[in-house]
Symmetry: C2
Subunit: 296 residues, 2 copies
Amino acid sequence: MADAPLFERLCLIGSGLIGGSIARAAREKGGIARRVVAQSRRPETLARVRELGFADEVEADPARAVEGADCVILCVPVGAYAGVMERIAPRLSPGCVLSDAGSTKGSVLRDLQPLLPEGVHLVPAHPMAGTEHSGPDAGFATLFEGRYCILTPPEGTDPAAVERIAELWRRCGSSVEFMDAATHDKVVAIVSHLPHLIAFTICGTADDLAEETREAVLKFAASGFRDFTRIAASDVDMWRDIFLNNREALLEMLARFTEDAQALARAVRWGEAGFIEDRIRRGRRIRRGLIERKQA
Amino acid sequence: MADAPLFERLCLIGSGLIGGSIARAAREKGGIARRVVAQSRRPETLARVRELGFADEVEADPARAVEGADCVILCVPVGAYAGVMERIAPRLSPGCVLSDAGSTKGSVLRDLQPLLPEGVHLVPAHPMAGTEHSGPDAGFATLFEGRYCILTPPEGTDPAAVERIAELWRRCGSSVEFMDAATHDKVVAIVSHLPHLIAFTICGTADDLAEETREAVLKFAASGFRDFTRIAASDVDMWRDIFLNNREALLEMLARFTEDAQALARAVRWGEAGFIEDRIRRGRRIRRGLIERKQA
Ligand SMILES: NC(=O)c1ccc[n+]([C@@H]2O[C@H](COP(=O)([O-])OP(=O)(O)OC[C@H]3O[C@@H](n4cnc5c(N)ncnc54)[C@H](OP(=O)(O)O)[C@@H]3O)[C@@H](O)[C@H]2O)c1
Ligand SMILES: NC(=O)c1ccc[n+]([C@@H]2O[C@H](COP(=O)([O-])OP(=O)(O)OC[C@H]3O[C@@H](n4cnc5c(N)ncnc54)[C@H](OP(=O)(O)O)[C@@H]3O)[C@@H](O)[C@H]2O)c1
């Protein structure tokens, strides 16, 4: 592996779970970057990043943070990209690779491409790894090991820049896959964003029940509901931004899901056993598919 | 604990996950029953129950199985209750306690009470424990430990009979709670039945996607979708019967959930960040409630 590091100066805009994990991986695994600059917005987060010591430099101002960096990775909620880009675009060095870790990818092209300076290479990425925790304390060097990282470089992107970001993720322990942004957004809408929307919603539905039933719900939450709320325990800003920035794909998947749920409800109402059995069997089939792929 | 066993002859109608677990608990924990009769329908299951040896007697015919029993527990899918009751009712011994382990409780009263012989006590129960596996091999003696068991005896039931069933579950390691059947059915509709309906549905929705996206879905199934499919890997007959026998409460909860999901979808469509944040926060609040109750 890795003799010379891939980058001289890696700048992470945002130092939470994802930024903090990339910084730790760069430090512990080697071959990724000679120096790591970690940026964060709030003084509390900055102080904590300094204490944790996972970066060589800590910066509050994104424009100063990106100066001289040959790689910049945005690790902030996707709704903050446009504002951040306005501030950093004038300071990005020629030849720099601009990447990100955001959970939506169409919005990244929309928000970053118009301001992209000549000679800066845009290589959007989405590491399919995470936990329900957030902030700089939540990160760890092995977060990305054995997980996929999806790259969605726009057509015509410099292949050398793409390869360096791909190699960064491989050195973090991930398998790299390529996809266009639209396909990415559809896939994550169904595997991740819709399940989260459903989980947040069903918690609210339970919370609205009459006091007596609600108490019992909390008491008897069977495994079904527990798995749902596990999903629901995630960061508010991040999920608000994901929903708003993957709107089309998310609403499309929700519409399909709702039609399917209504069809099943109709079968329940009219006692159509065969239809219900068919739906249950399909669920089991997908589940088996996942197990065979060792993803379950 | 327990000097004399609670029952002389305990008959389990159905010897799958639940029946097989009660039988094993009775054998391993003591104080529950002097003899255990395990009934099952198919020759394969009967043969396997004999091999596993968790019962003193193994029977194919439910009418013969209940003869002389002072406790009978139905451990078959709830849709089979009416048919089973027709066969066993004439053979139930006077003073016998008839109970069950079904996941719906209104339907139990509907299907069993009309045929209940004089002097037989009906004490419906629902152990809030289970796995995604089924059949006699799936059972184990500790399945019910540390879990709730909900009893829904109809008004006027002999208190001594109720207490014996309560004590049976305590000796299996469960905490016993009382509820009326209608409340029970609402609670499980939201904590368990609706989550399962959603999980089965979303698997189908994913399965219907264009071939290319579907392959990617299986590949990139993030934790969100994985938790859903874990729920979806359950027995077909059991879930068909649960949906059909808790129809009113399930459709009511699905209707509420759908309204709430549509409200969230509308907020996503119109970019109402505050509304979205509020829904996410509520999800986190319920989650915290669960953790505080050590149910998560
Ligand atoms: N968590 C996951 O499971 C996961 C998985 C894959 C991808 N992602 C993506 O990775 C990105 C970061 O997520 P994360 O989990 O690392 O979040 P996080 O732990 O909450 O950290 C967020 C970071 O972004 C900064 N930030 C928040 N709002 C900002 C704003 N409006 N303007 C500028 N900076 C802001 C925070 O700074 P302060 O603390 O100083 O405010 C913090 O440094 C997101 O785009 C997310 O979609 C997350
Ligand atoms: N699994 C759970 O998580 C769980 C939790 C709480 C309560 N329950 C309830 O417990 C009951 C049993 O569930 P289980 O998980 O033990 O199921 P299981 O493992 O599939 O076993 C079902 C048993 O019922 C018999 N059976 C199936 N269909 C029948 C029919 N139409 N007529 C007569 N007998 C039939 C089977 O006999 P053969 O094998 O001989 O066909 C088998 O002995 C259900 O009412 C369920 O709602 C289940």
